[in-house]
């Protein structure tokens, strides 16, 4: 029996103006001259699907998808819509940098079916944007949000907090300005120092001091408090949405559903196999042009691992998991998978159980990355 085809797809666009100091994503910075090649390679990869695959959710992420000039932008959207046509009632998100999100660009997208914009705002405060090496201004942010609103697309905003020396009032000011705008979805990330980034080496040389842990915790809790008070649901570790405005595409990841993908570094999960395309854009292209597979890593997820992934990513959704449903769907008893660890976390108050629901408590959310390794078995 062949499993049903995935109903979600992700497309990665690697171009950026230049690499930001904190970023370790699959990015090709300062090489816009490869955009044509990229689109040709993407077409080859998509043609490999054989027939178009209708989907419920589409997500075009980056990099900076809006880095593409308008004609290429239209070509990209057409290409994606041809191979992954959106079903009625579907959700189609594109990521954009505020400075590129003009009304015209938004219209081109909405005409082709885009329903949702995820804007890399990062901060409303100039000093924070400066520190993060982001080039947009307050005006471009407002113009971007307004363009989306006028064309009827939903607006999601990314914000970063816990910069070195960031005070509570800095962050509250960011949240104030966010809440004053017509935004339906917010993702908040504390600044993390990833290996291989410029920030990481600055930290390594002692030139950058991360914000103290206790203060990070305060900022995180403040976010939760304020956004919930404003009617947002905190539905995943770093995601908040007004009712009915969650990102359905991301929920597919967290519920361990299937999804297809294309583009450099893009990950897919189809038929119990997780694959990741080559993270180097040039290698990805070269392979496709040579008629080779762009896949760099492939892993078959056995039943137990699938259950563990489902457990962890399920718990990262703050509604938690329904134990009975979980056990039926995975065929594993929760005690058998991770009984002692779960008991320990329940006793310590990091997890809470009501009826058949198991979820993170507030203290548990704060230290959740310390909990997951124990659930991996």
């Amino acid at each position: 029996m062949t499993p049903p085809a995935p109903r979600a797809a992700y497309i990665h666009v690697p171009f950026c103006h230049r690499r930001c100091g904190y970023c370790n994503f699959t990015v090709l910075a300062g090489h816009d001259e490869r955009i044509d090649d990229y689109l040709r390679a993407l077409e080859i990869e998509l043609r490999g699907l054989g027939t178009p695959r209708p989907v419920d959710t589409l997500f075009i992420g980056g990099g900076t998808p809006t880095r593409l000039p308008l004609p290429h932008w239209a070509r990209l959207l057409d290409l994606v819509a041809r191979w992954f046509p959106l079903r009625p009632g579907g959700e189609w998100t594109v990521e954009g940098n505020p400075e590129d999100v003009s009304f015209e660009r938004v219209s081109v997208a909405v005409e082709r079916g885009v329903t949702r914009w995820s804007l890399g705002v990062q901060s409303f405060l100039p000093w924070k944007r400066g520190f993060l090496e982001r080039e947009h201004t307050g005006e471009t942010i407002d113009r971007a949000i307004e363009s989306c609103r006028q064309s009827g697309a939903q607006v999601a905003v990314d914000l970063i907090f816990a910069l070195p020396d960031e005070t509570a009032s800095d962050w509250h000011s960011d949240l104030d300005q966010l809440l004053a705008r017509p935004v339906q979805h917010v993702s908040t990330y504390s600044l993390t120092l990833e290996k291989g980034t410029a920030f990481w080496s600055r930290w390594y040389k002692g030139l950058l001091q991360p914000l103290e842990e206790d203060r990070q915790a305060e900022l995180y809790l403040a976010t939760r408090r304020r956004l919930r008070a404003a009617g947002f649901q905190h539905y995943e570790i770093s995601n908040f949405a007004l009712p009915g405005c969650r990102c359905r595409h991301n929920e597919t990841y967290w519920l361990c559903g299937q999804y297809d993908a294309a583009g450099p570094g893009a990950a897919r999960f189809v038929g119990g196999v997780r694959e990741v395309n080559h993270r180097s854009t040039t290698t990805w292209m070269r392979r496709l042009f040579a008629g080779d597979s762009p896949v760099a890593e492939r892993e078959t997820i056995g039943a137990e691992l699938a259950a563990r992934e489902r457990l962890i990513f399920g718990l990262r959704r703050l509604e938690g998991i329904d134990v009975r449903e979980f056990e039926e769907a995975t065929g594993f008893r929760l005690d058998a998978l991770a009984g002692p660890a779960i008991d320990e976390f329940l006793a310590a108050g990091f997890l809470e159980q009501s009826g058949t629901t198991l979820r993170l408590s507030e203290p548990g959310i704060l230290v959740s990355d310390t909990l997951w390794p124990a659930l991996l078995g």
Binding site: Y10, H12, S190, E213, T252, Y253, V367
Partner: protein
């Protein structure tokens, strides 16, 4: 070889004063090695020794030398320069009649110069004083000669100025060796009596013994007996070092050479032992033999418990070449299965560890080193204590003793005050101050060895801007007010972190240790209390607060695998840490007890 034409000598010098260079020059001038085929510093043939600039193991070389129509045999016996190998040095000295005492014309007399010179005098050696590096622009030959006179009572007119590097004064030095050093005594017709002064292991030929014949003659096919082990062997090969092994038919009284005799293990060749003919029960053993004495112990554990067998194999392999190092399995609640290892001293410990790391690719956790203590219990039993865990309850101890050493410091006079302060803080007892010249002095203190091994050398260097030198010798054991201090993590004793220290220092050290541990232990999901205690009395405490936040973010582009692999890696990292109760202690933390809590004098 007629013993009257033999000269046996060694070179003694402070490190870097030119011992190796001078040895090379002698080899070249005597023609023992043609200079073009001469490797740099031939005697120092182990890479590690070269890196550290220290001759660790004694080697020997026989130089044929023609002088005024007569053929001589000059045997140069190399001596290790470091105090850890004092016994080995004494055995090498016992094989010589003379010593070249080399002093750097710029640096002057240093602590090792004095220590080695006294050792040579104790063995009744004829000393040929040499000032080396006279080619240096800043050479201060006259002052240095004066320092030698003051510190060692050397007659200035006996000093031979040379430059080992430029080859100045070498002929004069060779002439002095022939003139001043007496030829060996001992009748070649008497029964064989040979002193073992070194050995090495050859994978094909077994243990190779280095000997100096005191009397008698030794030939191929002779049956010989090692008095220490009482084992007998047939001599399969014997010969001299030129400088490579060169076989010959026989060696006679006064000569230096090697014996190969199907000896399986180097542990059967004891340095200082006596070799006689197998059927000879009359000839006595030479005096002065001592079994190797390990003064410093530490625990070595594989970071990954899986590597235990590998570590054992690696230790065994090392001990094949170095019988003075000893190891025995031990277990620790905190670290699992590992080995208690005994070393001649701290340098020896470092050398063994470096070899382990180079030769066997094993990640090691090392516990802080400690010296060997002695305890007399109330029932009158005397115990050697090699690890803090062996210290019995205070009620059982009648007397607790520690090794005391006599330390000579040689420093520029302006630092005398700093040295006195260093020693007083460490309960040193002064034994005198001597001025070597108007600018340099020698201070002598008796100090606990434990104080010396932890940090005294580093502290000396920083207190004297690198100009001070020190050397020491073991005096013996003396009673002291010692206690075992334990470290508790969330109420559980971490056995591998216990230390023995003076009661008066316990408070300070306890505070330093818990502070250090606090900085090494990551935050956990719960609060972690770190305490230092003597018996049940807590003397210092720190708290590692519970983790407040560890949650990041974005699972971008659905790359779940990457996130999962990250967590899996964290889990592996956690497994490699040692855990006490539920507290993970990083490997580095086990050295935390070395932090004595004393400020460096220059801070």
């Amino acid at each position: 070889m007629d013993r009257h034409r033999i000269r046996n000598f060694c070179i003694i010098a402070h490190i870097d004063h030119g011992k190796s260079t001078l040895a090379d020059r002698l080899l070249e001038y005597t023609g023992a090695v043609a200079s073009r085929e001469m490797q740099d510093q031939l005697l120092d043939d182990m890479e590690l020794e070269r890196a550290r600039g220290i001759t660790i193991k004694a080697r020997a070389v026989s130089m044929p030398y023609r002088h005024q129509g007569t053929e001589y045999e000059l045997n140069l016996i190399d001596t290790p320069g470091h105090v850890d190998f004092q016994y080995e040095v004494s055995r090498s000295l016992a094989c010589c009649e003379g010593a070249l005492l080399v002093v750097d014309a710029y640096q002057g007399v240093e602590a090792q110069t004095v220590a080695n010179a006294y050792a040579a005098l104790e063995h009744d050696l004829t000393i040929i004083p040499v000032v080396n590096k006279i080619d240096l622009k800043h050479a201060r030959v006259e002052e240095v000669v004066e320092e030698m006179e003051h510190s060692l009572g050397i007659a200035p007119e006996e000093v031979i100025p040379v430059s080992a590097k430029a080859g100045i004064g070498i002929d004069r030095l060779l002439a002095a060796i022939l003139d001043r050093i007496p030829p060996p005594e001992g009748d070649a017709a008497a029964p064989l009596q040979a002193m073992v002064f070194d050995s090495h292991y050859d994978a094909y030929r077994g243990a190779i013994t280095y000997v100096r014949l005191r009397q008698g003659t030794l030939s191929r096919r002779d049956k010989i007996r090692y008095c220490g082990t009482n084992r007998t062997y047939e001599v399969l090969e014997l010969g001299r070092f030129r400088p490579k092994q060169e076989a010959c038919e026989s060696l006679s009284s006064g000569q230096v050479g090697y014996i190969i005799g199907n000896i399986k293990s180097i542990a059967d060749v004891h340095i200082g032992d006596t070799v006689v003919l197998a059927n000879d029960q009359e000839t006595p053993r030479l005096p002065g033999y001592q079994p190797p004495k390990r003064m410093v112990y530490c625990g070595l554990y594989p970071a990954d418990g899986q590597d235990f067998a590998e570590l054992r194999d690696a230790l065994e392999k090392l001990s094949i070449n170095d019988p003075s190092f000893e190891f025995a399995p031990e277990t620790s609640d905190a670290l699992g299965f590992g080995f208690r290892c005994g070393f001649l001293g701290l340098l020896h410990m470092e050398i063994v560890q470096q070899r382990l790391e180079q030769e066997a690719d094993i990640d090691l956790v090392q516990t802080a080193p400690n010296v060997t203590y002695e305890i007399t219990t109330r029932s009158g039993e005397v115990r050697e204590i090699h690890r803090p865990q062996e210290v019995p309850d205070a009620g059982e101890i009648a007397e607790f003793r520690q090794p005391i050493v006599r330390v000579n410091f040689i420093v520029p006079t302006e630092y005398i005050g700093a040295i006195m302060k260093l020693c007083q803080e460490r309960r040193g007892v002064t034994r005198g101050t001597e001025y070597l010249s108007t600018t340099r002095a020698m201070l002598t203190y008796d100090l606990p060895l434990a104080e010396v091994i932890y940090d005294l050398h580093d502290k000396l260097k920083s207190a004297t801007r690198g100009y001070g030198t020190m050397d020491y010798e073991l005096l013996g054991y003396e009673p002291a007010d010692l206690v075992r201090m334990d470290v508790l993590v969330n109420g559980k004793r971490v056995d591998a972190l216990s230390v023995i220290c003076d009661r008066a220092d316990a408070q300070r050290r306890g505070r330093a240790i818990v502070r250090k541990l606090k900085s090494e232990i990551d935050r956990h999901l719960f609060e972690v209390a770190v305490q230092a205690a003597i018996g049940s009395r807590v003397i210092a405490r720190e708290t590692v607060p519970a983790m407040r936040k560890n949650v990041t973010a974005k699972c971008y582009g659905g790359d779940i695998t990457r996130k999962r692999k990250l967590w899996a890696k964290q889990r592996e990292g956690k497994k490699r840490m040692k855990s006490i109760g539920k507290v993970d202690i990083p490997q580095k933390a086990f050295m935390a007890v070395l932090d004595t809590g004393r400020q460096s004098p220059d801070r």
